[in-house]
C-alpha cells in the first residue's frame, strides 16, 4: 500500500505552489473574462508565502502542517479563494490530525472532508460552475480508486476528471462568486477555479512522471 509521508506531501504542495505562482497572470486573466480578475493574484500571493514558509512549518503531523497552511490562506489569500482554499486545507488537516503519513484512502477521506467543508462554507453545489465541479467528482473518483493503492493511476484518473470538468462546465452560467454577477455573460468562459485545480493536477502528473494528455484548451497551452 502507498503511504505518503509528510515530506512527500510537503513536496507536492511546493510543486502546486509553483503552478499557482507561474500562472498568476493567466488565472487572473481567466477570472477577468467573467469575474473580477483577482483569482490568480489572490492565490499566487498566498502560495508565495506558503512556498516560502513550507520548510519551517510545523511538521509534527500531516494535519498540523495542513492547518498551518490553512492559516496562511486565511491571512494571505484574498477574495473568495481565501476562505475556500483555507477551509479546504483546514478540513483536510482536521481529517489527518495526528497522522505522520497518509494512505491513499486517508487522502480520499481528507479530500472528501475538504469538499464537504467548502460546500458548507460557500453554499455551492455541483453545477454552480465552481471548483467544486472538479472537486466533487475528484473526491468520488479517489474513493473509488484508493483501494487499488495505485497512486499514479489515481492521479491520472483525477486529472482526467478535472480536465473534463473544464469543458463540461464551460457553457454553464456561474451561480457563485463574482462571476455570478455578470449572469449570462459568464457562459462560454471556463471557470478559473476549475482550471486552477486541473492545472495543479496536470503539473503533478508531469512532476511525478505520470503520462497524461489533456483535452481542455486551457491545459494545452
Amino acid at each position: 500500500m502507498t503511504e505518503l509521508t509528510i515530506e512527500q506531501i510537503e513536496k507536492a504542495i511546493d510543486v502546486a505552489s509553483d503552478t499557482v505562482i507561474r500562472n498568476e497572470i493567466y488565472f487572473s486573466d481567466l477570472d477577468g473574462l467573467a469575474g473580477d480578475g483577482d483569482f490568480g493574484t489572490s492565490l499566487a500571493t498566498g502560495f508565495k508565502v506558503i512556498k516560502a514558509d513550507l520548510p519551517t512549518l510545523d511538521k509534527s503531523a500531516v494535519g498540523a502542517m495542513l492547518l498551518k497552511i490553512s492559516m496562511l490562506c486565511s491571512k494571505h489569500v484574498g477574495g473568495s479563494s481565501g476562505p475556500i482554499w483555507g477551509t479546504g486545507f483546514m478540513r483536510a488537516g482536521m481529517a489527518s490530525k495526528d497522522k505522520t503519513s497518509v494512505s491513499l484512502e486517508d487522502l480520499a477521506a481528507m479530500v472528501n472532508s475538504a469538499v464537504e467543508g467548502i460546500m458548507a462554507r460557500g453554499g455551492a453545489k455541483l453545477g454552480d460552475k465552481t471548483l467544486l465541479d472538479a472537486l466533487i467528482p475528484i473526491a468520488e473518483k479517489m474513493k473509488e480508486m484508493a483501494p487499488t493503492g495505485d497512486a499514479a493511476a489515481t492521479l491520472k484518473a483525477v486529472t482526467e476528471v478535472a480536465d473534463k470538468a473544464i469543458d463540461e462546465t464551460r457553457n454553464l452560467v456561474a451561480h457563485r462568486g463574482r462571476a455570478s454577477q455578470v449572469g449570462e455573460r459568464s457562459a462560454n468562459t471556463p471557470d478559473p477555479g476549475i482550471v486552477g485545480v486541473a492545472t495543479i493536477l496536470y503539473d503533478w502528473c508531469k512532476h511525478y512522471g505520470v503520462d497524461y494528455t489533456p483535452t481542455a484548451a486551457e491545459l494545452n497551452r
Partner: protein, 331 residues
C-alpha cells in the same frame, strides 16, 4: 486616472491612517489587519458589534465605528472581502463574555470570510453570532442563490444594534434587533455613472452618456435594467415604488426615510430626490419620523443614489434616537 491615489496597493491603509489622524482619541488602528476599533471596547458585560467588508463604501464600514455604533470593523481591499484572519482578529479584538455580533452584508466573499472567522473564534471559546443583512430589493428574482444584497439599510442595522448593545442588551436581544431592522428595511439604488477602483484604474462597467442602471449594486453589479436617464422625480418614483411595495409599507406606518448618495452625486441633487421621496411617502400615508440624506454606503465616486425605507416601532425609534458618534464629523 482622475483620482487622488499614491500606490494603489496602499490606498486602503493610507485612507485608514487619515481616518485615525482625523479622529484622535476615539479610535484605535491595527494596520496589520486593516482593523479599527473603539478605544473603549471591549467593555465588560457589553455585547460588541462588528462588521467588515470591501473598501470603497465609506463611511461603511470602518467609519461607522464609534459609541453607539460598531465596536470594531475591518476593511478588505477596494470591493473585496477582508481576509479571514482580519475578520477573526476583529472578533477577537472586542470579544467579551457578553459576546460578539457579526453583521455581514450579503456578499459571498464576506459571508465566507466571516463564517470561517466565526468558526475559528468559536473554536477558541469566543461567544459569537452572525447576522446577514440583505435589504436591496433590486434583483428580486435573482438567479443567484446568494440572494439579495446588503446595502444602505446596513446603516440602520448598525445604528439600532449599536444602541441596543450600548444599552446593555444581551447577545440574543441584539441579534433580535438586527433581525427586526433587516426584516423592516428595504433599499433600491440607481447609478448614472460607473466608478474607478484605484487598482483597476478604469471604470468598473460601461454605461452610455444618456443611460442609467436601475437597481445598481454597490460594486457595480447589474441591476434590474439599463434605461435612458429620466428626470429626478421619475427616478425617485421608481425607487420609491420598488421599495415601498416590497415589504409592503402600509398607510399609517411610521418610517425612517433615507436618500443615500453613492459617492459622486452633488449634495443638492440628493435633496431633490429626498423632496420627492418624502412627498411620495406622505402621499402613501407613511409618517416620516426620521430623515437621512447623505452618504451612508457609497461606491467610490459613482454618481447615483439609493432610497431606503425602514418601518419603525417604539423600540427602533428609541434606538435610532440614541446618541452615537462616528468618524464622520462635521464640526
Amino acid at each position: 486616472m482622475k483620482k487622488f491615489v499614491n500606490e494603489p496597493a496602499n490606498f486602503v491603509p493610507e485612507f485608514m491612517k487619515g481616518v485615525l489622524l482625523a479622529n484622535p482619541g476615539l479610535l484605535e488602528f491595527i494596520p496589520e489587519f486593516q482593523l479599527i476599533k473603539r478605544t473603549d471596547r471591549p467593555a465588560e458585560n457589553k455585547v460588541s458589534v462588528v462588521q467588515g467588508s470591501g473598501s470603497g463604501h465609506e463611511p461603511a464600514h470602518i467609519m461607522t465605528v464609534g459609541p453607539g455604533m460598531l465596536s470594531a470593523a475591518c476593511q478588505g481591499p477596494v470591493f473585496a472581502a477582508p481576509p479571514v484572519d482580519a475578520c477573526y482578529e476583529t472578533i477577537k479584538s472586542v470579544a467579551t463574555d457578553a459576546g460578539v455580533l457579526v453583521l455581514v452584508n450579503n456578499y459571498q466573499g464576506d459571508r465566507m470570510a466571516w463564517d470561517m472567522a466565526c468558526e475559528m473564534a468559536e473554536a477558541e471559546g469566543i461567544k459569537v453570532k452572525q447576522f446577514i443583512i440583505n435589504d436591496d430589493v433590486s434583483v428580486e428574482d435573482s438567479l443567484y442563490t446568494v440572494g439579495r444584497r446588503g446595502v444602505a439599510g446596513n446603516f440602520f442595522v448598525i445604528k439600532a444594534c449599536g444602541a441596543a448593545a450600548e444599552a446593555g442588551a444581551d447577545l440574543d436581544t441584539v441579534l433580535a434587533v438586527a433581525e427586526k431592522v433587516n426584516a423592516n428595511v428595504r433599499t433600491m439604488g440607481v447609478a448614472l455613472t460607473s466608478c474607478i477602483p484605484p487598482a483597476k484604474g478604469t471604470a468598473i462597467f460601461e454605461i452610455g452618456d444618456d443611460e442609467m442602471e436601475v437597481g445598481i449594486g454597490i460594486h457595480g453589479e447589474p441591476g434590474r435594467r439599463r434605461d435612458k436617464i429620466k428626470n429626478a422625480d421619475a427616478i425617485t418614483d421608481e425607487l420609491f415604488d420598488a421599495v415601498a411595495q416590497d415589504l409592503p409599507y402600509k398607510s399609517g406606518d411610521r418610517v425612517a426615510l433615507m436618500i443615500n448618495g453613492l459617492g459622486g452625486t452633488p449634495i443638492s441633487e440628493l435633496y431633490v430626490l429626498y423632496a420627492r421621496a418624502h412627498e411620495r411617502a406622505e402621499q402613501a400615508g407613511l409618517t416620516v419620523v426620521r430623515n437621512y440624506v447623505g452618504e451612508y454606503c457609497t461606491s467610490l465616486e459613482m454618481a447615483g443614489a439609493s432610497l431606503t425605507l425602514l418601518k419603525l416601532d417604539g423600540q427602533l425609534e428609541e434606538y435610532l434616537d440614541a446618541p452615537a458618534e462616528v468618524a464622520v464629523r462635521i464640526f
